[in-house]
Symmetry: C2
Subunit: 429 residues, 2 copies
């Protein structure tokens, strides 16, 4: 079934906002089994909106539109839809009463212009807004069922789930299923290579790749004669994908890497300390982004200055003088110092040259040392040579550090792993 996404707003056509609504809606519609033909973004212009709606009404079975439902004079979507559908606008008394109650409950006066939000094209079905003021509506234009939702992402998403999905579910070819698999540590080309033959060997399977640097998400999209068939097919291929990608796979759709690592620490009752130099707090920030992380994270010492490395983590000045801050000796001492200070089971430390300055022939930009200290076990030091700008070097370093912690918690081999394609040296094994 063909579908289209229409985004309305001059702030969008001018590029003042990134249109994340369109991709979100397209993904939801694709997952439901629709074939999304186009996303169109146009300004708050009554004539243009009406004209494009008529065009889309001839091409798509479902059109989902966002924006232009607010109370200001810029908001002309309802009027444009009435024009496209060839009907007048009518005030909906129950929507008006709802708006009045809403304003009263917030102790705010309802202005005349707000009443405009209760005007809908004749014959429209009003869609309630559980997250905000502006109701949405559904109306037929040409051959299409057209849904009009607010532009505010939270309100739009809630209304899609509550009203649009139930209404169009039956229209869609309900024979698709999607599974998202998240991984870290393999380059995108490496992931594609490992999975190169999967599509051709499995009819009705499409693989999609989405990079959220440095993570990669693999989407297994299955089409089949029925929903249970599609689900079974997706599950079987997802199993194969997980097998092929091995330890690089850390979770499903909404899993974050830090949450998965934290879950493993919690399960094994392990506590963690961190010593950061080049990542500058990024590792701590990722870990503490997860509610309840105080169960395992005891301390993160961001020792950016050499004096802090010495005073806080006990890195000897002789080590810094002889080997420099970006060295196996320093990072090992940082990890041991962090572990000792917090009396944790595990500690990781980072030091490196994130750039753009600070590189040398011996230690070019992208040279990073990671240290891993464990209670009663030898300390390990890893040298990686990373590419990309400052932000990429820092982010990938933070991920490698978490990957090392994950390997410890899982009891996996510490001399290899998915993130080791950039590893050039390991000491202390």
């Amino acid at each position: 079934m063909p579908a289209a996404v229409l985004s309305i707003g001059t702030e969008l056509t001018r590029g003042e906002l990134v249109n994340s609504n369109a991709s979100w809606l397209a993904e939801e519609l694709t997952t439901l089994g629709f074939d999304v033909k186009e996303h169109l973004t146009i300004a708050d212009d009554e004539a243009i909106i009406a004209e494009e709606l008529v065009r889309l009404g001839e091409r798509a079975a479902v059109v989902v539109c966002t924006g232009g439902l607010g109370p200001t004079s810029d908001d002309v979507t309802s009027a444009a839809v009435a024009r496209a559908a060839g009907v007048p606008l009518e005030r909906d008394e129950s929507a008006l009463a709802h708006l009045e109650r809403l304003y009263a409950s917030k102790g705010r006066e309802m202005l005349d212009r707000n009443a405009k939000q209760a005007d809908f094209p004749q014959g429209a079905t009003v869609l309630p807004n559980s997250e905000g003021t502006a109701p949405g509506f559904e109306v037929a234009v040409g051959k299409a069922r057209c849904f009009f939702l607010p532009g505010v992402p939270g309100e739009m998403r809630a209304m899609f789930h509550e009203s649009v999905r139930p209404a169009v579910g039956a229209l869609a070819a309900r024979d698709t299923h999607q599974i998202h698999i998240r991984c870290f540590g393999l380059p995108e080309s490496g992931v594609a290579e490992l999975l190169a033959d999967v599509e051709s060997a499995h009819e009705g399977i499409t693989l999609g790749y989405r990079a959220h640097f440095p993570e990669i998400e693999v989407k297994v999209h299955a089409r089949a004669g029925s929903a249970p068939e599609a689900e079974a097919k997706a599950a079987a291929v997802a199993e194969l994908v997980r097998d092929r990608l091995g330890e690089a796979v850390f979770g499903e759709r909404d899993d974050s890497f830090a949450a998965v690592v934290g879950e493993r620490l919690r399960a094994k009752k392990l506590t963690l300390a961190v010593g950061e130099s080049c990542t500058g707090g990024m590792i701590g920030s990722m870990i503490t982004d997860i509610p309840g992380s105080s169960d395992y994270l005891l301390l993160d010492a961001v020792t950016y200055a050499n004096s802090a490395k010495t005073q806080i983590l006990g890195v000897e000045q002789d080590v810094l003088r002889a080997y420099g801050a970006v060295s196996a000796e320093c990072v090992g001492a940082m990890a041991e110092g962090a572990r000792r200070l917090a009396d944790s089971d595990v500690a990781v430390a980072t030091t490196g040259i994130a750039g753009p300055g600070g590189g040398s022939d011996l230690k070019p930009v992208g040279t990073v040392w990671l240290g891993l200290a464990r209670r009663d076990q030898p300390t390990l030091m890893y040298r990686h040579q990373l590419s990309g700008d400052r932000d990429r070097v820092r982010k990938r370093t933070a991920y490698i550090a978490l990957d090392l912690v994950r390997r410890v918690a899982e009891g996996w081999d510490l001399s290899k792993g998915p993130s080791f394609s950039t590893c050039e040296e390991i000491l202390g094994l």
Copy 2:
């Protein structure tokens, strides 16, 4: 002059990627003075691309397209353009030679399918790609000059700056100018209220607002009879906007808050230490995101566990027992401990309840204490009551901490400021 943005790619129509290229291009074209009528996103489908190009060629003077220039069989943009323009594809020998050199220099074999990237519609002007392999091209379709760029953002942006902007600059109504002003600490509604009368009092001025939580960017867009006139008008209104928003304004278009704060510290030769609890490394991460931040940041102690607050920052166990970790007493001791440990000029500390759990009647989720310690001056403690989810509470807290450092570096009043709308208590003044 009317312009349009066309994005090509099935990964986009399916919603697998957020289309950030379209908003970037739209903003660039708007700034050049074009009136961007629409952004259209369609799949890698030769017939549809050709049809839509013909339609856009009737409506716009300039069409900028991205995507579908790669070597795989999915990439059909060149063939579609040839169809729309009614010309055959032709291999460009110099582009081919360039591709061959490129592959040779990387030590990679050039496959037959890669040669496809040297095929262009007859009469096209080839646009060099300074960042990658696929060249772009320009061709006329209908009344429009159409530019075809790669979908990879870095390559697309470089090609736009190097080839498209110089080519279309003269076409645009060169009578607009835009100035971006970044601020922190005022709610969006407060910013809009302070600037409510500016548009009506200044003909040819449009104000745009863009929230990058918790920052707000105000865009002053000026139109006038000539470019210098537009520039002067924008500058005058920008001055007025800065005046109205006062201390909340911290920079221009590409300035980051942490860079601006760091610049002030560097200028005043002040060093900084940080003690973080609820922000968990976010402050350190923001500061060290800036190259050269080791000049002023000495230490960031992320003391997530109470034991770490005691051991590292010297917060007395009695304080934690009597007042809890989220208290003026604790945050003051954290700030003083961080300052003493690093022997820095200034230190800030954070502790709070970021949620979703951990709140109580006395200290609900969103309760945050910030501490500010200075050499030889009294320590100050600020209680803020913040709204929003965990991520928002953490991010706003990190910004308030940096704002306090900025106020110290600027020598501003520490008892008020733009971020103080959420401040409920100040101790130690």
